[in-house]
Symmetry: C2
Subunit: 143 residues, 2 copies
DNA sequence: CCTTTTCATATCGTATTACGATATATATAT
DNA sequence: ATATATATATCGTAATACGATATGAAAAGG
């Protein structure tokens, strides 16, 4: 039986600490990522949008982008508008379905994303162990 | 040798897809967490603050909270002010060092956090495999 | 076919929240 | 005792996602 715990639910100060630790590791990664994006002049969500477009097999649209980013379609439309404005993304209205806006990265965006991704891979080498461990401890614990 | 890749850097569409997939899993967890907090009337950052205070061994202060949440101290001060306002946190100025504000959860906050944490543990049981796998694939890949 | 409904995207006003710049009070050091 | 550092606070600002709503295009129903 655990030292300091709520018998009824199994929740204890330790459980809070485990989840808090996981969230802290998450924050460290996200903070790194935001800083890296900012360093090349990108708002964090624009970085994510570029990644989503580049990582998607096939053609991205406003709708598929919204789905991947878990935002509302009209929010994705605004995001894309800002990125078209800053020459990161091109928007071509679909040939068969003229409602759909097909998205593609400009060379400028590809260069930025390439660099960012290399940096992320390097940083993830460092952060991964702590992140994986923190996550594992949570799900191992309540068993 | 990988199918479609940039020889010089090892970066490929697959790498983008791997990182994008990881970020997507991350988003799913964060979206769940935000929704769960919202369902009990808490802004997401206030939930994190409660968790940080509850999970910290020893006494929390504005400064320690800022550190855990990776925000500036003055931002933490504002956050705490909002939480004191809504009777989630009590702030007691330190006895020896009267600059420090010692933080504690109110019973109301403890009840909310308890419930949220139980929900998070349950959801993490579900999300953990995909999250761990997505993370593992990134660091396994570039080796 | 032509009208209704649904789908994909767009626009506008609003609210939240973190930040920079700055301020104040207390503690520590010279 | 004064200077410097530390802990927290305040105010104005900016970024961005959302709700409500709108528009145009495609699909479905009769």
């Amino acid at each position: 039986m655990p030292a300091v715990s709520d018998i009824k639910t199994g929740l204890s100060a330790e459980q809070y600490a485990l989840i808090a630790a996981f969230r802290y590791e998450l924050r460290r990664f996200l903070a790194f990522s935001e800083a890296a994006a900012a360093a090349v002049g990108l708002p964090p969500q624009q970085h994510q949008a570029l990644l989503a477009i580049a990582g998607k097999p096939g053609v991205s649209t406003i709708g598929s982008l919204a789905e991947q980013l878990l935002i509302a379609p009209h929010t994705a439309a605004e995001l894309v508008a800002r990125m078209v404005e800053s020459a990161l993304v091109t928007k071509t209205m679909g040939a068969q379905d003229r409602r759909r806006a097909e998205l593609a990265l400009t060379p400028k965006a590809e260069a930025l994303l390439h660099r960012l991704t290399a940096d992320h891979l390097k940083e993830l080498e460092i952060l991964e162990p702590a992140l994986a461990k923190a996550l594992g401890r949570i799900t191992d614990a309540d068993r």
